[in-house]
């Protein structure tokens, strides 16, 4: 069976330390104003002790059916065999159409380079057998990465164990994200009013 890289983000474990954001910036040498990975705070909502809050890390979902690749007029956005969605910087001419088409707001226009950039899932590291830097750095171990098609991988086992909490963002759109979120076990019932900032 083909490899299919999957990233699980367990919202129950995220402590909002933002180490993943920093690690991502350092490893990928990201220019100021460009964000591959961002952690949002949702809440707090309510009054103690009846209050809720959690953190929500967001990045490219590396969709199986990526809308960004579909609309890209230059074929700069493409998928690797492992399902990682990348941008070919030799082809991108900075039209930003993929930014409009992404339902997850996961892409940034780099004004300095004149092209669009996004999370690359640290593919150079992954191909060497390592994990993405955000996964290695995560203090709460909320990020679990691996080949979901390998039943012995950590990610497959974790998924099987906690699949009742698994969810994809906007499944109705049909992009089939490779990043799977696990719902927090408590709280958030009042947070629908809170905007993510």
């Amino acid at each position: 069976m083909e490899k299919k890289f999957t990233l699980i983000i367990d919202l129950d474990r995220c402590v909002g330390c933002m180490a993943c954001m920093v690690a991502c910036k350092v490893v990928n040498d990201i220019d100021p104003g460009v964000e591959f990975n961002k952690v949002y705070k949702v809440g707090p909502e309510g009054t103690f002790p009846d209050c809720d809050m959690f953190f929500f890390p967001k990045q490219c979902m590396h969709c199986e059916e990526p809308l960004c690749a579909k609309v890209c007029p230059s074929h700069a956005t493409y998928q690797t065999e492992e399902g990682v969605v990348l941008v070919d910087h030799n082809k991108c001419f900075g039209c930003s159409y993929c930014i409009w088409a992404c339902p997850y707001d996961a892409r940034t226009f780099n004004k300095k380079k004149g092209m669009v950039e996004k999370c690359v899932l640290c593919l150079p590291l992954v191909l060497k057998g390592e994990k993405p830097e955000c996964v290695k750095t995560c203090l709460g171990n909320c990020r679990i990465f691996g080949d979901i098609n390998d039943p012995n991988s950590e990610v497959s086992k974790y998924y099987a164990e906690h699949s009742d909490r698994a969810m994809q963002i906007h499944p109705k759109i049909g992009t089939k994200p490779s990043v799977i979120y696990f719902k927090p076990r408590k709280g958030a019932s009042k947070l629908w009013k809170s905007n993510i900032r």
């Binding site: 159409y97 409009w100 088409a101």
Partner: protein
């Protein structure tokens, strides 16, 4: 996502130019109005090229523009393919019988398309319409709630006809063409239709779900929306009434007002598309998640 002002300018210029040609062509063949079609084509080409230049200004790497032809499934590629075709046939219409000595190129012979004249004019109109349809489809995106409706491309096409008719009416007046009653009525009807379509879209975006619904009277949208109401509705209504009941035709103000309204609308449209639906902002998401 910011308002892309180069794209606002380019789409307005392209709608004005191509719409003006299509409406002029229609009026000539439908009502035998004596509009000078090569002159319309020349002016259209000017605005059209201005639109293309403005459009390329928003690109990060305009020198790689040729890459935009690579994916025929993308509406942006379709637009890129149609763009030179519309321009080429407009150019052929423009040079038909054109006296090049006017622009100091008297050494060039006057070109007459002869029997090819009508097919070329039809092809120009055809590609102008196709180009505008493809541009409308570019903005009809599934990911953005405010743009996830067919009304996006329908509105785009109606505004193309409306601003085109206003442009054709202004140009016909400017060149002293007589017998413009039908064109005046067409211009009025299309602008009315344009306003109604935009109002329908306003209702659509106001009914979107929590966090993405657009309140046109909020500080974020009010300025642009009020500008659109005044320049797209109020001023044209007054000018149409003055022309219809008192015979006072202020065509320059009319076309200017409609162009400004289109700019305001396009900027409003960009801003309304900025908001995307995102976990866990919404009641219905939480119902399915928690």
């Amino acid at each position: 996502m910011e308002i892309q002002y180069p794209l606002v300018i380019s789409t307005v210029a392209q709608r004005l130019s191509l719409g003006m040609y299509v409406i002029s062509f229609f009026c000539i063949n439908m009502w035998s109005i004596e509009i000078n079609l090569p002159l319309v084509a020349i002016i259209s080409l000017g605005f059209y090229l201005m639109g293309i230049l403005a459009s390329s200004a928003h690109l990060g790497r305009p020198e790689r523009l040729v890459n935009s032809f690579a994916n025929p499934r993308s509406h942006l590629t379709q637009e890129a393919i149609l763009s030179p075709l519309a321009g080429f046939f407009l150019f052929l219409v423009a040079i038909n019988g054109f006296n090049f000595s006017i622009i100091g190129l008297g050494f060039l012979p006057t070109i007459h398309l002869g029997s090819l004249k009508l097919p070329v004019e039809i092809l120009a109109a055809f590609f102008c319409i196709l180009f505008c349809l493809s541009t409308g489809l570019v903005y009809q995106l599934f990911a953005r709630p405010a743009w996830k409706t067919r009304m996006v491309s329908i509105n785009f096409f109606i505004s193309f006809l409306a601003v085109g008719s206003a442009g054709a009416y202004a140009l016909a007046n400017l060149t002293g063409v007589q017998g413009l009653q039908n064109l005046f009525i067409l211009c009025f009807a299309l602008q009315l239709l344009n306003v109604l379509a935009d109002l329908y879209y306003t209702v659509y975006v106001s009914r979107l779900s929590y966090g993405v619904a657009v309140n046109v009277f909020s500080a974020e949208f009010a300025g642009l929306y009020k500008t659109w109401v005044v320049t797209g509705g109020v001023i044209p209504a007054i000018l149409f009434c003055l022309a219809a009941f008192y015979g006072i035709s202020i065509w320059a103000l009319l076309v200017s007002s409609i162009i400004v309204s289109l700019i305001a609308w396009q900027a409003f449209f960009f801003r309304s598309g900025k908001h995307i639906k995102f976990f866990p902002q919404y009641k219905q998401d939480l119902k399915t998640i928690f």
